[in-house]
């Protein structure tokens, strides 16, 4: 693995943004315009950028230190996360209940770890994965509390003037998940040397 600058490491694994109003970085490039912020957050595509390896693109280290300090001192408050379960993304926080639709093997009472975390957020900071937040940094635990079937859904097809009419009824299996805890370790922007081998069996 090539040696990377700390700023580049950050951009490779997770992007960090401070979004409390006091700590928000100022964009001095176009500060003289009233529309600067609107332009900054517009939906227009990002222009191509030539990345200079020598330049440090990351946030100042004290920002990361502040976040790590907040997590270590447990001052971050309630956390939320965006996780992907069975192909769908859910925004969750502790004690939420969410329903996973379709056939899904986990049984009632089983505790599972949701480890596809796309975003982790607190009141004052967000960790944004690209696409996933570093494995092992965030720990989302959930319990399966119920497995039922949905209400009867009707599938009705008809072709006019063709004597064709089909009605089908079906129910979808549903799994209720209770989110037990969302935990972060105060180790932001410190990825291990080798990644992606957690689930690999040699």
């Amino acid at each position: 693995m090539a040696k990377l600058l700390p700023g580049l490491l950050l951009s490779n694994f997770s992007k960090l943004s401070l979004n409390s109003l006091q700590n928000a970085p100022k964009f001095t490039a176009c500060a003289n315009s009233i529309l600067s912020r609107a332009e900054k957050y517009s939906t227009q595509h990002t222009p191509y950028e030539i990345v200079n390896d020598d330049q440090d693109y990351g946030l100042p280290n004290d920002t990361i230190e502040k976040v790590n300090h907040q997590i270590a001192e447990k001052q971050q408050g309630r956390l939320f996360a965006v996780v992907q379960v069975c192909g769908k993304q859910h925004k969750i926080t502790q004690r939420d209940v969410l329903i996973v639709e379709g056939y899904w093997p986990p049984e009632c009472g089983e505790k599972i770890l949701l480890n596809k975390v796309l975003v982790l957020g607190a009141a004052e900071f967000s960790l944004i994965g690209r696409p996933l937040v570093q494995q092992g940094l965030v720990n989302v635990e959930a319990t399966v509390i119920e497995k039922t079937l949905s209400h009867t859904k009707t599938h009705f097809r008809k072709k006019r003037r063709k004597q064709y009419m089909r009605t089908k009824f079906f129910k979808i299996p549903q799994t209720f998940l209770r989110i037990n805890s969302i935990k972060v370790s105060p180790d932001v922007n410190n990825p291990p040397e080798v990644q992606g081998l957690d689930n690999v069996i040699f």
């Binding site: 900054k40 517009s42 309630r78 939420d96 329903i99 319990t143 509390i145 039922t148 009867t152 209770r178």
Partner: protein, 183 residues
């Protein structure tokens, strides 16, 4: 398109007693298998009782299973939940596999979920942590002081540059280059 589901009772997710916050509690209290000893429609239920019932009971010690033979009636499975609700399933002509499947479904449910349409597939007590979005989010507070009509705020947000503007820019660049060369 059929709209029959619109007449179902709409509801949000309910979970009994914060189930799963501490530990998980099975919500099925007891199950009564009612069947006939002689009729053909109860054959699957009888087979289930003979071969698989003990296994099911061992797997689920929190559920009380009762057997109630009765003459010349179709078999049913009656379930009673911890919240007092009852639900019954007509088990006529079921095979033993089907009986086991329905029993497992009743065991994993917390109440009778049929006849209710869920309006949302999630429930949260904390809808927003970083604050809800408002139109003023990430906007410059200077906007509050803007005087209208304002030329800057009236122009399109992401308009392309006009030919005149482009010419002006080229002219400015050339001027800058000349200045740099001369100095």
């Amino acid at each position: 398109m059929s709209n029959s589901h619109l007449f179902l009772k709409p509801a949000f997710i309910t979970t009994p007693g914060q189930n799963g916050v501490g530990r998980y509690v099975c919500q099925l209290q007891r199950v009564v298998l009612k069947f006939c000893m002689s009729h053909g429609s109860s054959r699957g239920v009888r087979e289930f009782i003979e071969t698989r019932l003990l296994e099911f009971v061992k797997e689920s010690p929190e559920v009380a299973v009762y057997l109630k033979p009765r003459r010349h009636k179709s078999p049913i499975i009656k379930a009673e939940y911890l919240n007092g609700e009852t639900q019954w399933v007509n088990a006529r002509q079921f095979t033993d596999d089907e009986v086991l499947k329905w029993l497992n479904l009743l065991k994993s449910q917390s109440s009778n979920r049929s006849g209710v349409r869920l309006r949302k597939l999630m429930h949260t007590d904390f809808p927003s942590i970083q604050g809800p979005w408002t139109p003023y989010l990430f906007r410059d507070p200077q906007l509050n002081l803007a005087r209208f009509p304002s030329e800057e705020l009236s122009r399109p947000l992401h308009g392309t540059k006009t030919a005149t503007q482009q010419l002006f820019e080229i002219f400015e660049k050339q001027k800058a280059a000349q200045n740099a060369n001369s100095s």
